[in-house]
Symmetry: C2
Subunit: 348 residues, 2 copies
């Protein structure tokens, strides 16, 4: 069959997400989902509040009732908030509105490989600049480089590491372009960049309800930015990008944020214990402020370990791009104990 696609589409492979499985008995530690359920208020509200009339009508185009709740939760005015069909949609829109063909986007490396896919879609040049100091300092080339867009995933995936707010601020101050701080995992970290928002009109902060709020299935993300920014991005978004059900689910989750905070604390505790167990086994474990850890075994490729665990019904994330490492989501304590046992079996 003749190809009708743009050359760039024909030649690219899409982003490959981690394996998804609904299979029972599989311990899923590969795509950074939350091992705990979302706030019980979510299902309660969906059951009690969702009406047939709301299903029949188009949803609020800018998710206004949800924005009002988010304004209270985050202390940011509603018109500084854009709600997306997951933060992936917001990233997609950001690449689309700021990057013309041949424009340049900069980000530290290694990081979320979706950025590369989105750059390819725009036929933009992507420059992937290695982190300094075990992923904890931003490279000078990122700070000073000329570009139309810069992105910092903080905490970073797949490494789980963070750079300090003052590092991020250096980039904001030195850059004549928008700077995205992708804070998908920030609820598991010590600090975040919200306090920089008023000072820097070129700052765009991304959040998601998929990780800390345990709502990956609902598809809700937030962009926090100046109204001039959100208004421009709205021009490119689908009119009704977030359905009524995720709008209700997200409101319920934000209204019960204490629940989420308690679960986040539990995950941080498990992360700390699990990291030290891995270190005892001889793994290099990077200091994580996310709900996963990035581990290496000096001198080893880790494909065999990924494969062995998979055969034992435990999924962790192996990227062919980084064969010397694995990214392991922090699950419940019992999941991590089982994982450690199976790892010992495989490695002995």
């Amino acid at each position: 069959m003749k190809s009708y696609f743009r050359k760039i589409i024909e030649n690219m492979t899409g982003y490959i997400p981690g394996e998804q499985t609904g299979e029972k008995g599989v311990v899923k530690l590969n795509t950074n989902e939350n091992p705990y359920p979302p706030s019980p208020r979510v299902l309660e509200q969906i059951r009690a509040r969702l009406s047939e009339r709301e299903l029949a009508l188009y949803p609020p185009p800018l998710s206004d009732p949800l924005r009002v709740v988010a304004q209270k939760t985050y202390g940011i005015p509603a018109d500084w908030i854009l709600v997306g069909n997951g933060s992936d949609e917001l990233l997609n829109l950001i690449f689309r509105v700021f990057l013309d063909k041949e424009d340049r986007v900069l980000y530290p490396y290694p990081t979320y490989t979706l950025y590369r896919t989105l750059a390819l879609l725009q036929e933009a040049h992507y420059q992937e600049i290695p982190f300094e100091e075990n992923y904890q300092l931003l490279p000078e080339e990122l700070v000073q480089g000329e570009a139309k867009l810069k992105i910092i995933c903080n905490p970073n995936s797949p490494t789980g590491t963070v750079v300090s707010i003052s590092e991020v601020e250096k980039v904001l101050a030195a850059s004549a372009c928008p700077v995205v701080v992708d804070e998908a995992y920030v609820d598991f970290a010590e600090e975040n960049c919200l306090s920089l928002l008023k000072k820097y009109p070129n700052l765009l902060i991304l959040r998601t309800l998929s990780k800390s709020f345990a709502l990956a299935g609902a598809r809700v993300g937030f962009l926090f930015a100046w109204p001039e920014m959100t208004q421009g991005i709205i021009k490119a978004k689908d009119s009704y990008n977030v359905g009524i059900m995720p709008q209700i689910a997200a409101q319920a989750a934000l209204e019960d944020i204490e629940y989420t905070r308690a679960r986040v604390e539990q995950i941080k505790k498990t992360r700390s214990w699990f990291s030290s167990e891995l270190a005892k086994m001889g793994f290099v474990v990077y200091p994580s402020q996310a709900n996963f850890v990035w581990v290496q075994l000096p001198g080893s490729s880790l494909g065999f370990l990924y494969q062995g665990l998979k055969e034992r019904n435990i999924l962790v994330r192996y990227f062919s791009e980084w064969p010397d490492a694995l990214r392991i989501t922090i699950g419940r304590e019992e999941d991590m104990k089982l994982l450690l046992e199976e790892m010992l079996e495989i490695l002995k």
Copy 2:
């Protein structure tokens, strides 16, 4: 504030959807929603089947369980089906994967103005070719014209009119590019283009659950096309574009299609009666096979009528691009009776 946006974004206005209001007492006949609720099975299934575990996990990336149900409903293999976050997302993806900067897209005019917005976003040339014969024949220039993409909205919005399947087939046979048939309203029509799919690898058929299935709030659309087509488009789509809740809602609706068919028949009956009432009042009413009618009053601009109805809490659709016409959604019979009374009041 300095603009960071691409020039095309800076200069464009986004697509402007019809007014959305949740206000009680407003009769909403402006965005072609269904006046009846969706199948009761939808809310039942959301309440009974949706689990906290499903909310916490990423949803099936290609909506596979839903595709299996759709395969049965439409008699089309699952890998010929792509599920979207509304058919708007699918349109957006189609423009993105087929149209390079400066490429040409053709469609008859007047039609869904989103096509123009999507062409602008790609910096593609859009050529809007007037329909022939009161919107019931396709212009020869559309059939024969050179382009990278052609689109036929059938039944057409805002006119409600249809062109015959053989007209569509002429375009498919004569075109060396993909041809989208946007069948958003086809469940209210006499025939559809599904039977052409096997014969034409350049055919893409769009459907939505927003109109006939009364699920505008859920955001679900389908693309039917050859697997080579769906596979290419998947490269550009967000990994998890449809959440678990709309997937469940859509499955439930398709499994109870008899319910939808009965409501569609009622709307068609109301459409027929309402059209003849309008004709008696002196309106030109185009023959509609959609859930709305397109009306003109010879010699009159109709902004005053739109405005007068709005003051009486009835919303119909007025497009500044076509000031001599109104597009009126078919609601319940009692809504339409009220509308007729108020129109008589305003016009007397």
